[in-house]
C-alpha cells in the first residue's frame, strides 16, 4: 500500500491526521473502553455508588429470560428480514437486468426507498396497517381478521419484519444488479447455445457467479437488521406488545435509558460489539480470499 514517490514532512502528516484521530479517540475509543469498564461494575441507578463485580453483569444478562427472549426475537427478525429482502431484490434485479424497455425507469422507481429513513418507513406502514384508520388494517378487519398489531405480538413482529424488509430491498437490488451486470454475457450465451434453459442458466451459472455479492449482502443485511432497524421498532411497536418485538439493540436502549441499569446495558453492548466484530471479521476474511483469485 506504499507509494514510491512521497512527500517529506515531519509535522504536516500528523496535523493532517489530527482531526480524525481526535474525533475517533474521543467518540470511539473512549466510549468503547467505557462500555467494557462499565460492564464489570454494578451501579445504583443514580450513579452514586458502584463496585467491581467481575463478570456478574454478563452472567446476569444470560440468565435473564427477557434477554433470551430478545435473542430469540432478534434471530427471527434478522433471518426473516434478510431472507425476504434479499429474495425479493434478487428476483427484481434478474428481471431488471433483462433487455427490456423502460429498464432505466424501473431502476429509478426501485431504488428510491433507500432514501426513506427506517423510522419513516415504519410510519408509512403503520398508517397503512393501522387497525382503525389504515386502508389495509380496515380491510383485514372487514374480512373478519382480528387485526391489531398493538395487541397481537405475532402480528407486530410480522409488521416490523415487513417494514424493515421493504426498506432494505432497494439496497440489495442495486448490489445484485451491479453483480449481474459484471457477469460476462458470453458465458451465458455459451450456456444458451448448449441448450440450457433460463432456469438452468440461472442456477448453474448466474447464481454461483453472484455468490460474492450474495455473501457480502448477507452480512450487511444481518448488521442492518441488528442495528439500523431500531427506528422501525421504536416508532412502530416500541418493543411491544409485551416484549414480543424487543430485539437486542432495543433492549440495550431500554435497559440503559429507561431502566437506568447501566452495568447490564453496558454488558449487552459489549456482547453486541463482539457479535459485530465477529461478523466483520468473517466478511473481511471472505473478501480477502476473493481478492486473491
Amino acid at each position: 500500500m506504499h507509494r514510491r514517490v512521497i512527500f517529506r514532512g515531519k509535522l504536516l502528516p500528523y496535523l493532517l491526521l489530527l482531526p480524525q484521530l481526535i474525533v475517533t479517540t474521543v467518540f470511539f475509543f473512549w466510549p468503547a473502553g467505557q462500555a467494557i469498564y462499565q460492564s464489570t461494575l454494578l451501579q445504583d441507578p443514580f450513579g452514586l455508588n458502584s463496585r467491581f463485580v467481575w463478570l456478574e453483569n454478563f452472567t446476569a444478562v444470560f440468565e435473564n429470560p427477557l434477554y433470551l427472549n430478545a435473542v430469540a426475537n432478534t434471530v427471527v427478525f434478522s433471518l426473516s428480514v434478510t431472507i425476504m429482502s434479499m429474495t425479493a431484490a434478487l428476483g427484481l434485479a434478474v428481471l431488471a437486468d433483462r433487455p427490456i424497455r423502460f429498464a432505466l425507469a424501473y431502476k429509478t422507481l426501485l431504488i428510491w426507498p433507500y432514501a426513506v429513513a427506517p423510522a419513516v418507513a415504519a410510519l408509512l406502514w403503520l398508517f397503512v396497517f393501522h387497525p382503525s384508520v389504515g386502508i389495509i388494517g380496515q380491510a383485514l378487519r372487514h374480512a373478519g381478521v382480528a387485526w391489531d398489531y398493538k395487541l397481537n405480538g405475532g402480528q407486530a413482529m410480522g409488521l416490523i419484519i415487513f417494514a424493515a424488509a421493504w426498506k432494505q430491498v432497494s439496497y440489495n437490488f442495486l448490489f445484485f444488479l451491479a453483480g449481474l451486470q459484471a457477469i460476462p454475457k458470453s458465458v451465458i450465451e455459451a450456456a444458451s447455445i448448449d441448450g440450457a434453459g433460463a432456469a438452468r442458466r440461472f442456477w448453474t451459472i448466474v447464481f454461483p457467479l453472484l455468490s460474492p455479492t450474495t455473501f457480502f449482502l448477507l452480512v450487511v443485511n444481518i448488521v442492518y437488521a441488528f442495528f439500523d432497524t431500531f427506528g422501525i421498532i421504536h416508532a412502530l411497536t416500541a418493543g411491544g406488545p409485551g416484549k414480543s418485538t424487543e430485539t437486542l439493540i432495543y433492549k440495550v436502549y431500554v435497559d440503559g435509558v429507561v431502566n437506568l441499569d447501566l452495568g447490564g446495558s453496558a454488558a449487552e453492548s459489549v456482547i453486541l460489539m463482539i457479535v459485530v466484530i465477529g461478523l466483520t471479521a468473517i466478511q473481511f476474511r471472505y473478501v480477502e480470499r476473493r481478492v486473491q483469485y
Binding site: 491526521l17 422507481l109 433507500y114 432514501a115 421504536h234 440495550v252
Partner: protein, 279 residues
C-alpha cells in the same frame, strides 16, 4: 414465447414498483385530506382538497396533539445535521487519507489501524457510553453533540485511500519538479481529481445524516434541536386514531422529500457512492 416472458417481466417489475410506491401514495393522499375524515376511517384513495392548509399547519405550528413539533425548526436542524455530518466526514477523511498515502512517518500504520477498526462498530452498539461522553463534555442539546460523534468513521477514509493509491507517481513527480509542496499538490491536483468521489460520498453521507434516529433521540431533549425524522415519529405517539393524521402525513412527506429528491436527481453519484463505499 419471448413475448410472453417480456410481458411477465414487466408485470412482476410493476408489482415491485407498486409495493414500493403504495405506502407513499397513501401518505400523499392522507396529507391532502382533513383529520376527521381519516380519523373516522373514511380515508379516500383519491387526493382531497386540504393540501395547502395541511402543509401550512405542519410548517407553521406542527402536527400531532401531544407535542407539536414545528417543521420549520426541525427542517433546519435536519439540514444542519446532514450537512455537517457529510461535509465533516469528508473533510477529516480526505485529510487523513492524504497523510497516510502521501507521507512516510513513524506510527503511520498504527494510526491507519486506529481509524480502520472504527469500521467494525456502528454507533448504535456503543450508544449509551457515547451518550455519557457527550454529556460529560456538556454537548447535550447542541449541534456539536448532534453531529461530531457521528463523524468518526472509517468508510470515507478507506475510499479516499483507495482512490489516492491510483493517482500515478508521475503526477506527484511532476508536481515536485515544479516546486509544489504537499499542500499545493493536494489543492491543485488531488482535490480536483477527487471530484466524482466527493460528489458520490456527499450523497450517501447526506442521506446517512438526515436519516439518523437513535442518536438524535438521545442527545436532544429540547424541541429547538429536534430533527425531522425524530419529530415526525414522536407525533404519532402511540398511534391513536385521534391523531391529526393529515398534518402528520404532510410532515412525513416533507421528511422524505430531501433525501428522496437527492437519490432521484443525483442517481449516478448515488449508485457510485453506495457501491464503492461499501466495498
Amino acid at each position: 414465447m419471448q413475448r410472453r416472458a417480456d410481458w411477465l417481466t414487466h408485470a412482476i417489475l410493476l408489482i415491485g414498483v407498486f409495493v414500493f410506491a403504495f405506502p407513499i401514495y397513501m401518505t400523499l393522499v392522507a396529507s391532502t385530506q382533513d383529520a376527521s375524515t381519516i380519523g373516522t376511517g373514511n380515508l379516500s384513495l383519491l387526493p382531497g382538497s386540504h393540501m395547502i392548509e395541511n402543509y401550512r399547519a405542519a410548517w407553521l405550528s406542527g402536527g400531532g396533539q401531544s407535542s407539536p413539533g414545528v417543521v420549520r425548526t426541525m427542517m433546519l436542524n435536519s439540514l444542519v445535521m446532514a450537512l455537517v455530518i457529510a461535509i465533516g466526514k469528508i473533510a477529516i477523511s480526505i485529510l487523513s487519507a492524504y497523510a497516510v498515502v502521501f507521507f512516510s512517518f513513524p506510527l503511520r500504520m498504527t494510526f491507519f489501524w486506529m481509524i480502520f477498526v472504527t469500521l467494525m462498530l456502528p454507533v448504535e452498539v456503543r450508544i449509551i457510553p457515547t451518550y455519557e461522553v457527550v454529556s460529560n463534555l456538556g454537548l447535550i442539546n447542541t449541534y456539536a453533540g448532534l453531529t461530531i460523534p457521528l463523524i468518526a468513521s472509517a468508510t470515507a477514509t478507506l475510499l479516499f485511500r483507495q482512490f489516492f493509491l491510483t493517482i500515478p507517481d508521475e503526477l506527484v513527480e511532476a508536481a515536485k519538479i515544479d516546486g509544489a509542496g504537499p499542500l499545493r499538490f493536494f489543492w491543485d491536483t488531488v482535490l480536483p481529481l477527487s471530484r466524482t468521489n466527493l460528489a458520490a460520498l456527499f450523497v450517501i453521507l447526506f442521506i446517512y445524516g438526515w436519516n439518523q434516529y437513535l442518536w438524535p433521540l438521545l442527545v436532544t431533549t429540547s424541541r429547538d434541536y429536534e430533527t425531522m425524522v425524530v419529530g415526525v415519529s414522536k407525533m404519532i405517539g402511540v398511534g391513536d386514531a385521534q391523531n391529526e393524521w393529515n398534518t402528520i402525513m404532510a410532515t412525513a412527506v416533507l421528511t422524505m422529500l430531501p433525501p428522496v429528491a437527492i437519490v432521484v436527481l443525483m442517481q449516478r453519484w448515488f449508485v457510485k457512492g453506495l457501491v464503492e463505499s461499501e466495498k
